[in-house]
Symmetry: C2
DNA sequence: GGAACATCTGAATGATGGTTCACTTCTTTG
DNA sequence: CAAAGAAGTGAACCATCATTCAGATGTTCC
């Protein structure tokens, strides 16, 4: 018998792949998709450019994995809150707040996920995740409408509007003083979001 | 004396430049910024690739001009309505409706202006125009608040939210039936926008 | 230790697409 | 018309990266 991957070796490879994705995510958060060349990402992970192709069939595939992991975390967190306990309007408020706080804490990553120019494969992934955000928002809004806490409305449109509104406010710098005061920004944003859905003030 | 540009010649050159920008705009609306190569644009305008550089110092410069002209038209139209007559909430509604109708009529261009991946120079221009949309919205909202037609709020945040909300709803396909019915989509969107600003229903 | 095989390396390769430039074509003016 | 100068052409040039691959280094197992 010749050579067989030992379990430790398999773990090592998985860890290497993981490490690559983590570092690539950091690079993307710092410099954006366009500047995150294979060489830059490999350097950050401490491997040669060619080694990237041991783990991913192409740069696109790596980029998609980076996007998916990061975006999935946000969907999970948002879903946790939006599908949790409490009345729908309150869940919506908390969801927006949690989402906003996380985005402000890692602005570079938030920008990469929500708005930064990216190759088509990442663009498609972004579209898919936007749909998931919309779906989560739409479900809460439908609940709120059913419980007569929110006025009748097309929940899909409101959900899309919320997705766009939240992204815009968080990603592009405001000239108002709220830009320098995270608490005010979050408060302002959740207020807009609630009005958007028609929640009573 | 040797050669001097005659007025007719100057006009011809200006017309050629203009024609190039118009055709480039069409190409961008059809295939997006990424696919709008110098060759493709030159072909569309009926000139050689090299001739593009008679009118613009670089591809970026042409792209910026294309963006500016198209975006300026939208700012003008929106400003016309938002700064016109009537009470602020009604102007807001009409502004959203006009903006939405125009975007739906030329979806390719709207996507290029609002969201399509583009080179950095165009991205910067987009940012600048987003600020102008925000400024227009913020002014109407401030008026509405001052006249007690709208509840107290941070107008900059609401304006940013409106910009993002409108863009998202118009640019990304909805799965709801409103997607196939422009009237419903516009009605739904203006309803969300008014709620966003806190206008009484 | 060493045969057999896997992973890792990084310079060479290749595709893409903006830009240049020697040349042609058109305009002006005496 | 002819000389002078501008605009127009498009193939060649060049910069940028993703991708490959021949050789170097590690790992497994007898």
């Amino acid at each position: 018998m010749a050579y067989r991957k030992t379990p430790a070796e398999i773990r090592r490879l998985e860890a290497a792949r993981d490490h690559l994705v983590v570092r690539a995510t950091e690079v993307v958060a710092e410099v954006g998709w366009a500047q995150a060349s294979v060489t830059a990402v490999a350097d950050a992970a401490g491997i040669a450019a060619g080694s990237v192709y041991q783990h991913f069939s192409s740069k696109s595939a790596l980029a998609v994995e980076v996007f998916r992991r990061a975006a999935q975390r946000e969907v999970d967190v948002l879903g946790e809150v939006l599908e949790g306990d409490g009345d729908p309007a309150d869940r919506l408020r908390r969801g927006v707040e949690v989402f906003a706080r996380r985005a402000l804490e890692n602005h570079g990553l938030a920008y990469a996920l929500l708005a930064a120019p990216a190759e088509p494969a990442v663009g498609a992934e972004r579209l898919a995740f936007r749909r998931r955000y919309r779906g989560l928002f739409a479900a809460v809004i439908d609940e709120g409408v059913a419980a007569d806490l929110l006025p009748g409305q097309d929940a899909e449109i409101t959900a899309a509007a919320l997705t766009g509104a939240i992204g815009e406010v968080l990603v592009y710098p405001l000239s108002t003083s709220a830009a320098h005061d995270a608490d005010r920004l979050v408060a302002g944003l959740s207020a807009v979001a609630l009005r958007c859905a028609g929640a009573a003030p």
